[in-house]
């Protein structure tokens, strides 16, 4: 039996793209979340920091939901082995995501200073935990975990916490931190921008060091010798990480392009390393799952391909449009007095009505 078919490879690529989109987009959400208290000192500033990702973070998280759903549809055996195997790690990620998701909503609704502080820490930890554990998880998927002949995981949570995987987790954690800091530098004004810039400058170097160390380990530790394609892409990631270092102060847009590239190449290197497997067994190479062994029928893959071809371009178009609509920088001054659309209506009436309301600033 072949290890893979065309459609299976296509879906492996599509699922990789979904994960890539997720890590690039939610990567800066995690970074911004973790830096909430470091960049925002007053409530107005914190509000501005949250606003920088406010309209988009939920759309960014859907990339994860679709990656999960697509894995279930295209590679059910992969979905089943991975999700039941990495059980407690995923539980921790889910708790982190849930706590972070509601912290946006409840921070603004908290009645007391203490209540707001609590939700700030919820956002920080709820961002840090998944940022760390996604790296740990993917390192383990690529490196191999104990899997038996029935494709069942036989390790525990602590099997996943090996030095290589922890390095991977620290790499994603710091890269996302730097990515988020640069995002804030790019998207804000005033004091928060200065703080974000100072943090970004300090964070980029450790992110580069940890990312490069992990990639070198990944390339050298590949089962059966160095995977050349993966090593080349890893080299691109290294270049991108290094390119972010000198640009971070003067040209945040370029630095952001660099960290974006670094995240993309970092994970592409991992996906290439993993191919043509979906799970690598450290128990016995014979128990590693190939694309063919994990995949759905070609009929299901064909159906899903049609759906993806029809919908993905539309999704990309309107997500890009959202970023365009909310392109304006945010600053703490916008949040001194929170205005509501009712003010606009009032203003409209006073001025004799007519025309569309003026932009209200991100406060409303």
């Amino acid at each position: 039996m072949d290890e893979y078919t065309f459609l299976q490879v296509l879906w492996f690529i599509l699922i990789s793209i979904l994960w890539l989109g997720y890590f690039v987009l939610e990567g800066f959400d995690f970074g911004v979340g973790m830096l909430l208290r470091a960049v925002g000192k007053t409530d107005d500033e914190k509000r501005a920091v949250m606003h920088s990702i406010g309209p988009i973070w939920d759309g960014n998280e859907v990339w994860l939901l679709v990656a999960g759903g697509a894995t279930f549809a295209a590679f059910p055996q992969w979905y089943a082995t991975l999700f039941s195997g990495f059980y407690l790690a995923l539980f921790l990620i889910l708790v982190g995501l849930i706590v972070r998701n509601v912290s946006f909503e409840f921070w603004g609704k908290a009645e007391t200073e203490q209540g707001r502080r609590r939700w700030e820490w919820a956002m920080i930890l709820g961002s840090a935990l998944p940022a760390l554990l996604w790296g740990v998880g993917w390192a383990n998927i690529v490196h191999g975990v104990p899997i038996d002949a029935q494709y069942e995981y036989t390790g525990t949570l602590f099997t996943l916490l090996n030095p290589y995987a922890i390095l991977g987790g620290l790499a994603t954690l710091t890269i996302f931190l730097a990515h988020g800091a640069i995002f804030l530098e790019m998207r804000t004004e005033g004091a928060i921008r200065q703080r974000a810039q100072a943090l970004a400058t300090r964070l980029v170097a450790p992110a580069a060091v940890l990312g490069i160390a992990f990639l070198v380990w990944t390339v050298l530790a590949h089962d059966g010798g160095v995977d050349v394609a993966s090593a080349i892409v890893a080299a691109f990631a290294v270049v991108a990480l290094l390119a972010a270092v000198p640009t971070v102060k003067e040209a945040p847009a370029r630095a952001f392009a660099a960290t974006t590239g670094a995240i993309l190449f970092f994970f592409i290197a991992l996906f290439i390393d993993l191919f043509p497997h979906t799970m690598v067994s450290s128990t016995d190479a014979a128990f590693s799952m190939t694309l063919n062994q994990s995949a759905s029928s070609s009929y299901t893959l064909t159906v899903m391909t049609v759906v993806a071809v029809l919908l993905v371009p539309v999704v990309l178009a309107y997500q890009a449009w959202t970023y365009w609509v909310f392109r304006r920088r945010v600053s703490a001054e916008d949040f001194g007095e929170v205005r509501s659309p009712l003010d606009l209506l009032d203003k409209e009436k006073r001025e004799g009505g007519g025309g569309e309301p003026e932009p209200a600033g991100p406060g409303s």
Partner: protein, 473 residues
């Protein structure tokens, strides 16, 4: 919890049993927010349309006020929705391996076609006030409403395949998709969708009625809440009638597709013609008719509900069980009869109470006496619990009534869980998630009540930072 109590006496609770508890808790919890979100999204889009068309300020204030309640529900629904999608793989890996070829497709489509639209346009709607043109902004509201409903369609198509598998063949001991159109247009799914959307409208309608009644009794904001009442009273009355009609045809379909579930719903043990509908029963649901007293019975009604004919034949539990033993091998194919019996009645009872309340309110409003009727305004507030009880019991009935099957006729629940996940691990996630859900529900409830008490904001008055819509995300 029941299983832990049993554990001390017999054996440690199995991972399977815990996984079932977890699925039930997560799903019921998630489904508190689902109908609120779907229903309120439609109502909010409606209010905004009224504002767009008339320019009347109170419609804008209604949009903003109900929008806040919508967002609280949405935040919780999204947070628990991720667990919903991941738990199939986490707790039910054998199930996932068995059905992945079919079940994964609607799930992935839900993400691509609905979740992306929902999250993106909700972000645009929340933050787009004054930044988008009024028309574009209104379009965002309707896109959110449409996509929440669409997402329900896909997940119900997936669930309906578990109730009534279609468009598949068996290959290598797994179900394999042969026809996607059969899965997406499964007649079970079409009825389930109609039923769920109606339930969502009932839920949102009852929230509108309860919140408006509370405010009207205090004489607050009569324009905003009078407007909500004028929408909600006919909405609930009509939705309840249509739900009953759809439910009737749904019942006939279920009798055909899952006769055991319907027989259990009325605790009919032996096959009979022209069976009556019992309103309540006491005694032992486990054994045969001798142990059970069916107290008040409406002649021929059950036969009519289930078959469409007053003298139609209802197959009894014992007969069906014997038939299934021949077909599927030895074993017990009976769900917990008491659960099916009572959940079915609770669901229908709640629907009837909602109908009576809304019809009464509609009549009062027609006579211009609504605001003076203390009794109606008082009763309408606690009545907000009815749609939630109806939804929860409805899901309990449909999922527990299908047991012992997870996929009807194809895969039993007791072999569907994850072999690599032991009881200790499920305990950790069960306790962890349940505590988290509890804390979040308490906070969300408090925020919800606070938002209601604060009421709609006056025009020209800056909203308190803590109350602003923009930061609900």
């Amino acid at each position: 919890m029941e299983p832990s109590g049993r554990a001390h006496r017999v054996a440690p609770v199995s991972a399977l049993e815990l996984a079932r508890w977890q699925f039930g808790i997560t799903t019921l919890y998630h489904f508190i927010f689902v109908p609120v979100t779907i229903g309120l999204a439609i109502c909010v889009a409606f209010f905004q349309t009224r504002w767009y068309r008339t320019g009347d300020e109170h419609w804008l204030r209604s949009t903003r006020f109900w929008g806040k309640l919508l967002l609280i529900s949405f935040a919780l629904g999204v947070a628990t929705g991720i667990v919903q999608e991941f738990q199939f793989g986490m707790n039910w890996s054998n199930y996932s391996r068995f059905v992945g070829d079919i079940f994964g497709a609607p799930l992935a489509m839900e993400g691509l076609a609905a979740f992306f639209v929902e999250s993106t346009f909700l972000g645009l709607w929340i933050f787009g006030w004054g930044r988008l043109s009024k028309k574009a902004h209104l379009t965002c509201a309707w896109l959110v409403a449409a996509s929440t409903a669409l997402s329900a369609y896909f997940i119900l198509a997936a669930n309906s395949w578990m109730q009534h598998p279609v468009g598949y063949k068996m290959a290598d001991g797994k179900a394999e998709l042969t026809n996607i159109a059969s899965v997406l247009f499964n007649n079970t799914a079409l009825y389930a969708f109609a039923h769920t959307i109606l339930a969502a409208l009932l839920t949102a309608g009852m929230i509108l009625i309860a919140v408006s009644a509370w405010n009207l009794r205090k004489g607050r904001e009569t324009e905003v809440f009078g407007g909500a009442m004028r929408l909600a009273l006919p909405l609930v009355t009509l939705a309840a009638i249509v739900t009953v009609i759809v439910g009737h045809f749904n019942g006939i379909l279920m009798t055909e597709q899952q006769p055991m579930k319907m027989a259990a719903a009325d605790a009919v043990f032996e096959t009979q013609d022209g069976a009556g509908l019992s309103l309540f029963a006491t005694g032992d649901f486990k054994s045969n008719p001798e142990g059970l007293n069916r107290n008040i019975e409406i002649p021929n009604l059950l036969a009519w509900i289930s078959t469409g004919y007053p003298n139609g034949e209802i197959e009894g539990i014992n007969n069906i069980n014997a038939e299934y033993q021949k077909k599927y091998g030895p074993g017990n194919y009976t769900p917990i009869v008491a659960v099916a019996y009572w959940t079915w009645r609770a669901m229908i009872g709640c629907a009837m109470l909602m109908f009576l309340l809304a019809a009464w309110g509609w009549w009062l409003s027609h006579k211009g006496k609504l605001r003076d009727s203390k009794w109606f305004l008082k009763l309408a507030v606690p009545a907000v619990a009815l749609p939630f009880v109806a939804s929860a019991t409805g899901w309990l009935f449909t999922e527990m009534g299908r047991q012992p099957w997870v996929v009807f006729g194809l895969l039993k629940t007791d072999v569907a869980n994850s072999p690599s996940v032991d009881a200790a691990q499920v305990w950790i996630t069960l306790v962890g998630f349940t505590l988290l859900y509890g804390v979040l529900a308490a906070i969300a409830g408090r925020v919800f009540v606070k938002t209601v008490k604060k009421g709609p904001v006056e025009a020209g008055e800056a909203e308190e930072p803590g109350q602003e819509l923009a930061l609900t995300y």
